[in-house]
């Protein structure tokens, strides 16, 4: 015990000091002997002594926990993503924050099958089994087959037209699908794509929190109401795409036209539609800023065809009118313009953007009018890789609400 002051235990001081001095003398002697032990006659000897010392401690390199985790992430997500992996995606527009998981295995060098499941904050669900064959035939062709089931439990419906009321009904859409597509790149900037699928829809009322569809709408105001058609859906597209990657680009352009044919098995609700899209990214000062523009037209080809309400062109949230609810505006034709001013807090991984969206819908193509357009303005942050945008968070203000968008893809 070491006393705290001279009056505490003076009688014990002598032996305590003696013991302490002995201890310290031992330390001093050890220090001196250690010094003598390491004393060398030459510089080389001192280095050799240190190397000899290390030779007694050599061991194989062992990565620490963080290194092991990073290496595992690299193997799973970058090098050869196979086995189980996490997902952040979308079941259906309006589903809210969505997470899931997938499992991937390879059948050949590149051909892989993949099963994945997603679940959203609004109880939307998706399960899909897909076969993906990238780059056979010297990298000019991609081939995909997929079968899945989607359950969107509370999809907005406000009625048709740009002047539809803010009040909405909700419906539930369940969709089973199977199909495939093939895309060909004759040149690296040209893409030809075609696909065929069978899509079976089951429509029902949404949650009781909102009026049922048949309470607010009729088959006149919501074509196809009460029906659950099955479709053979074929499409063909041609595009000139000079962007470095479709899901993240700071330069380049896209001009694409897609022809859809939806053939109802009962032929009641068959229709054809054309989607045309133009995107131009204008880099400023070595891509420090980018002005990005997009225009999209969706047009139903035959005015006599009946398009069911849930397959009509629509605007709202996602990557369209981001300051409005998902599926806020629907009709047989839609027109959308978007402009973004982007800047790059991190050229490697993060963009920010201020954007303006404007769009309208109409029952006749010639009725699409700029004067009728609804607009919104917003701000967004995107986390990206050189080719992907795995997370996009945006806040936008339209005339009706302030909306937050979470997405796992580029806006355009």
């Amino acid at each position: 015990v070491i006393a705290s002051g001279p009056s505490a235990h003076p009688v014990h001081d002598g032996p305590v000091i003696a013991r302490l001095c002995l201890i310290c003398a031992t330390i001093i002697a050890f220090a001196m002997s250690a010094g003598a032990a390491i004393a060398q006659e030459t510089r080389e000897q001192t280095i050799v002594a240190q190397q000899r010392e290390k030779a007694t401690q050599v061991k194989p390199y062992e990565p620490n926990k963080a290194e092991r985790l990073l290496a595992q992430l690299q193997d799973t997500l970058v090098v050869a993503p196979k086995g189980f992996y996490p997902m952040f995606g979308s079941v259906y527009s309006g589903g809210g924050f969505t997470l899931g998981a997938g499992y991937r295995q390879y059948l050949g060098d590149r051909v892989n099958w993949n099963i994945s499941g997603l679940y959203s904050a609004k109880n939307y669900k998706l399960i899909e089994l897909a076969l993906h064959s990238p780059r056979p035939l010297s990298g000019h062709v991609d081939f995909n087959v997929a079968a899945g089931w989607r359950d969107a439990t509370a999809v907005n419906f406000h009625g048709l037209g740009i002047d539809s009321p803010e009040d909405q009904s909700l419906y539930r859409m369940q969709q089973g699908y199977v199909g495939g597509d093939i895309s060909v790149r004759p040149r690296h900037w040209t893409i030809l794509r075609t696909g065929l699928g069978y899509e079976a829809f089951t429509l029902s009322n949404g949650p009781h929190s909102h009026p049922a569809m048949n309470e607010l709408f009729t088959s006149e105001t919501a074509p196809g109401l009460g029906e659950s058609p099955d479709y053979l859906h074929a499409f063909v597209s041609a595009a000139i795409d000079t962007r470095p990657a479709p899901d993240y680009a700071r330069r380049g352009s896209l001009v694409e036209i897609v022809y859809h044919q939806y053939a109802d098995r009962d032929d009641t609700y068959s229709f054809d539609r054309v989607d045309a899209e133009v995107i131009q990214h204008v880099p400023i000062l070595r891509e420090s800023w980018v002005l990005s523009f997009r225009g999209r037209l969706q047009a139903t080809l035959d005015d006599n065809d009946v398009v069911p309400y849930f397959l009509m062109p629509s605007l709202g949230s996602g990557s369209t009118l981001r300051g409005y609810h998902s599926w806020r505006f629907r009709d047989r034709h839609s027109l959308l313009f978007t402009a973004e001013w982007r800047w790059m807090p991190s050229r490697l991984a993060m963009d920010a953007a201020i954007f303006y969206d404007a769009g309208t819908v109409a029952d006749r193509l010639h009725s699409l009018s700029i004067a009728d357009m609804k607009g919104d303005i917003g701000f967004g942050v995107r986390f990206h890789s050189p080719v992907l945008t795995p997370l996009r968070i945006e806040i936008a203000k339209g005339s009706e609400a302030l909306k937050v968008v979470f997405a796992a893809s580029a806006a355009f």
């Binding site: 001093i28 006659e41 080389e44 190397q51 194989p60 390879y106 050949g108 060098d109 010297s138 990298g139």
Partner: protein, 554 residues
């Protein structure tokens, strides 16, 4: 009467005594300078044949350097592998060449080349390229020797291959262990696939290589008008490959690797060499350790294996504009740019580049040696001090215009303008580096002390044409030095010299084994750092005075 001593006080006294003895032990037992100082070679005394192969994953390496940044706090620790005269001994990391001895232009142009390139005839591919993004493969030539082949990317003829060839010579002359790179022309029909060749597709399942795999490589490579492909063939390294090295820490399985890499001067010096050549890709994957046998022992040799990430091109085209200017991620800049809508404007955004596909984005006008950065923070660069940078800048300054021009010619640019551009930029950047780093510290070098006591030296900044003589000359402060105790005793008042020769204030000790210390500073120099004295130590020998110590920065 018994003297009462407070135990706590006794403890303090004894502990201070113990600590004092411990901390001064080297002075008691050792000397500041040993008889073999300054050493010219770093010994590798222990057998390292047990060193095992490791793989430093790219994502791991990038993430650690970007976000954990080992050694991110500057320690001001003197380089741990230098000798007593502030030089780097030869080792399995480094060999003194330019700046230490006369290097002829012929030597520099030959660089690491020991023999001819791949033996002509049919070549057999044994694997596709595993590291890096440039198209390439591993092959055996007609004599069965192993080569690593790397092509120019489609659309960028001569860019990657010329950069490799030129940088290869530069870094060899600077002293690094380099791979032997040869320029080759390959035709598809001269290449076969070895029966043992394997390929690892995206599935990760290794299988025998097929012609299609090789076609994929050629499809990514630039094809000349005559159907051939220009490539660089790197001779397989001797010894057993055990992976790359990091720019911090030591290999735990190499007993001879005792100096943390961030404190190795030749690795710190890459900050300056990298700035000169724009060597931005400082990943472990661009380095390579091999175990060779020397004197019957396994020894690890450390290569800067891939120095092709230099100048203005990458493996697949011109560098991004911000490379060499910013790390891939800088959180402060991210925050600043986020809230300021992408502002402020940085120099890389307005730097003017020649429109040149072969050399890429490489310029000297906006280049600032002090602010140059590799892709990721590099521990050895963070720890580099002014004396390390000075040491490196002297070597850069030692490249003459003619030598640079000759080395650039080895890149075999088909257009004279390409070679001229690269030469001009290298020369201009060399001058900027010399001006910045040679003037950032006392630049006096090459000290000699004549038998009659006259001190002579040179001024590296003036020699490089980036400094002017100090208006008031130089001052030398002379002392005797006790090698056992570090004690110094003045030899008289300071003496002065207008030129680079100064007389002693009094006769110097003449007994063999005597030491003198001389502190030399420039007076009235345009750079304040010249006024900080450099301390040099001489030891008396039978034949005169021998330089035994230089301390440019404590």
């Amino acid at each position: 009467m018994v003297a009462v001593v407070r135990p706590s006080f006794a403890i303090v006294v004894c502990m201070i005594a113990a600590i004092t003895v411990t901390s001064t032990a080297p002075s008691i037992n050792g000397r500041r300078f040993f008889d073999d100082d300054p050493i010219a070679r770093e010994p590798d005394s222990q057998d390292a044949s047990g060193a095992a192969e490791w793989e430093i994953e790219l994502l791991v390496d990038l993430s650690i350097n970007l976000f954990a940044t080992p050694g991110r706090n500057t320690t001001n620790v003197r380089a741990g592998n230098i000798n007593t005269i502030d030089e780097v001994p030869d080792s399995n990391w480094f060999t003194n060449r330019i700046g230490s001895r006369q290097i002829t232009i012929d030597e520099a142009v030959r660089g690491p080349l020991q023999a001819n390139g791949p033996a002509p005839g049919r070549w057999q591919v044994v694997a596709t390229k595993k590291a890096g993004f440039a198209p390439g493969f591993t092959m055996r030539d007609a004599d069965g020797e192993l080569w690593f082949v790397s092509f120019d990317s489609a659309g960028y003829p001569e860019a990657a291959t010329a950069a490799i060839l030129v940088a290869n010579k530069i870094f060899w002359a600077l002293g690094y262990w380099q791979v032997e790179n040869h320029l080759v022309t390959i035709r598809r029909d001269q290449v076969d696939i070895a029966s043992s060749a394997t390929f690892k597709p995206p599935s990760g399942k290794t299988r025998p290589m097929a012609r299609g795999d090789l076609n994929d490589v050629f499809a990514r490579a630039h094809r000349s008008a005559d159907g051939s492909y220009r490539a660089v063939a790197a001779r397989g390294l001797p010894g057993r490959i055990i992976g790359g090295f990091r720019y911090y820490g030591t290999r735990p399985d190499d007993p001879n690797d005792i100096v943390p890499h961030e404190h190795r001067r030749e690795l710190r010096a890459l900050k300056v060499f990298g700035a000169w050549t724009n060597l931005v890709d400082m990943k472990a994957g661009n380095t390579l350790d091999t175990v060779i046998t020397e004197n019957g022992r396994g020894i690890v040799r450390h290569y800067l294996q891939d120095v092709g990430s230099t100048f203005g091109t990458g493996a697949n085209g011109p560098r991004d504009y911000d490379e060499g200017w910013e790390y891939l991620v800088e959180l402060d800049l991210v925050r600043q740019r986020f809230f300021q809508f992408g502002f402020p404007i940085k120099p890389w955004q307005t730097a003017k580049y020649a429109d040149n596909h072969a050399v890429g984005r490489f310029e000297a006008d906006a280049f600032d040696p002090a602010t140059w950065k590799p892709r990721v923070p590099t521990a050895a660069f963070i720890q580099a001090r002014a004396d390390d940078n000075f040491w490196a800048a002297r070597r850069v300054a030692a490249f003459s215009d003619e030598m640079i021009r000759a080395i650039v010619q080895t890149g075999r640019y088909s257009l004279p303008d390409d070679a001229r551009l690269l030469t001009d930029v290298l020369v201009a950047r060399r001058q900027k580096i010399a001006k910045h780093y040679l003037n950032a510290i006392n630049p006096l070098v090459d000290f000699t002390l004549s038998p009659n006591g006259y001190l002579r030296f040179r001024n590296a900044a003036i020699d490089a044409g980036v400094g002017t003589p100090p208006v008031e000359g130089y001052r030398a402060t002379w002392s005797t030095f006790d090698n056992a105790t570090d004690a110094v005793a003045s030899l008289g008042p300071a003496t002065f010299g207008a030129n680079m020769e100064i007389a002693p204030p009094a006769p110097l000790p003449s007994a063999p084994g005597a030491f003198v210390r001389i502190a030399i500073a420039a007076l009235g120099a345009e750079h304040a750092a010249w006024g900080e004295p450099v301390e040099v130590y001489f030891k008396r020998t039978d034949s005169g005075w021998r330089l035994i110590g230089v301390e440019r920065l404590r």
